[in-house]
Homo-oligomer: 346 residues x 2
Amino acid sequence: MTTIKDIARLSGYSIGTVSRVINNHPDVSEAARIKVEQVIREQNFQPNSNAKQLKQQSNSAITIIVKGYENMFFEGILERVQAILRDSGEDVAVAFLDEYSNEVQTAIQLCAARKPKGFIFLGGNLEFFKQDGHKIDVPCVLLTNTAKDLELTNLSSYSTNDEEAGYTVIDYLIRQGHSKVGIIGGSASRIGSQIGFRRMKGCLDAFAEHGLFFDEKTQYQPSRFSMAGGYESTQKLLKKNPEITAIFAIGDTIAIGAMRAIKDMGLSIPEDISVIGYDGIESGRYTIPRLSTIHQDTELLARKGVEDLLLRINYSHPITHEDINYTMVEGESVAKPRKRKEIRGR
Amino acid sequence: MTTIKDIARLSGYSIGTVSRVINNHPDVSEAARIKVEQVIREQNFQPNSNAKQLKQQSNSAITIIVKGYENMFFEGILERVQAILRDSGEDVAVAFLDEYSNEVQTAIQLCAARKPKGFIFLGGNLEFFKQDGHKIDVPCVLLTNTAKDLELTNLSSYSTNDEEAGYTVIDYLIRQGHSKVGIIGGSASRIGSQIGFRRMKGCLDAFAEHGLFFDEKTQYQPSRFSMAGGYESTQKLLKKNPEITAIFAIGDTIAIGAMRAIKDMGLSIPEDISVIGYDGIESGRYTIPRLSTIHQDTELLARKGVEDLLLRINYSHPITHEDINYTMVEGESVAKPRKRKEIRGR
DNA sequence: CTGAAAGCGCTTACAG
DNA sequence: CTGAAAGCGCTTACAG
């Protein structure tokens, strides 16, 4: 294995100078730089990152913490984040966690073990951040949920304005003529820290504005963030409330499970029951019928998040909390409710 | 930050002894072990992995190389592999690569840069391995494709018997009454190194056995491994050959795109065109209609692959090439072909 | 602009 | 069974 020592010997300079060339320090002569760079190229030399990081104290790779398995929405963002980081020459580690586990605790442990340069959280429970977020001593970015009410000094966040989007969805469904709307997804305990809560808040505002009462008992069903979760919760919801004509699934993955459940109950979408999702994942564009949804700009989410983190890792850059635009995508899964027994053309 | 030096001071032993306790060396007295472990617990000490790896020369985390974006099949395996590795206390790095890029080249570069303990490849082009596989000087495992014909000494592989499964699919479709079967997926160049080729080989055998001619020109269409790829290739295929009554998509992701394309052409599944996929991803259980497919045992694939790699990283264990069982899952996307204009009940 | 040297936190022969 | 010491490959004041 070739080391910096070999490069020093081969180039005729000291290892100190070689190191300076590698790290783009300004005070190196043109001649030295050229010669050293040439030898490095010839030898195809790559500095040992362990030694480098050991010296620099700032240890291991940027770590992405993904909350939840089988979450196609996060997987899409993950791929983007990873690609951008890679293009920036940064190493990336990934940890998948259960949807309900404590990501902050995991981050703290990882900090002690290998002090990553920084964290990117794909999803996160604000409650955990409120409790222990200050114990993470490297820059962090939270994606898809906002941390703006948290007063943490090391956590930026980029997310869709969930409250507004939730309002938009319900307002849309009501304007389509639905008065019995069901909502599935999110955690049963409405502790205000889960992402579902903000969406729900917007929904409630919309119901209120239209003078409609939303009965959480019969119109809401918690669900894991998965197709299986959506399937199950839809069955439960429709069983306890057969009058529902539209379902808002708080994630596309959940919505896909919901559609399958509706179909298996012998009903059709959107004729019997309309379904609208949230996230705008690729898969939703290929379902039959195509899924109507709130499309989050994952490309922008990923890019802004990474840029923020990189800036804060390398400079004393301030944290940011930003809302990313969303768009409502009208697919084929929402229609006006039909009167019972009425036959409608398409 | 607490280091091994602190533990030594606090426990009254030398750093050498502390190190031996940490690494479970046998020649440590019971008393020393107990005392040191207690202090480590009290201090919540985690050894610095950079220093450790710098010493041990075997550097950074096990690296998983994923070929292709938006590949739900690989993402499922990735999550499992990552979870198992994590439970074993191993760090994991992930690199997503384009479906058509050279993963072996990437691995060689990563070796030079940070010498990972080992690689797990999710998908791989045998041609690349044949050329440069020997240049990767750490243990490797290839998942979902076999390397048994390659004569490499550092590469194990676990995969489904693609040839047999391909045969099974076509045999099944023919027995259902389909004689005009289309196949989509894989690379256009049949270089024999792509995974598609082995599946195709089995398909051709089945056609031959049933005395049917398969015209590659009009019955085959290459496709990227994505929903968009499946959508596009299905359109092309059905345009150039309207007689096709069944499509075998060489991956479920492709199949989902195919179903949507068929639907958009005003045809229905399976009445007009049957579709069968390959992989057995979660999503296929929620499509409308449910996707018939070859289910690969990803859980086993992941577990065997990781165990193999760990064994070879830590001991001089031989490489293995193993076929993992598959099962055919009958969903709702395949039916007998109907005569033109005939009306069939369900 | 450059080199010599200390030191990052750990592991591991070596000697006892 | 244990300690003292060398050394992994690098960075960075320090001195010139």
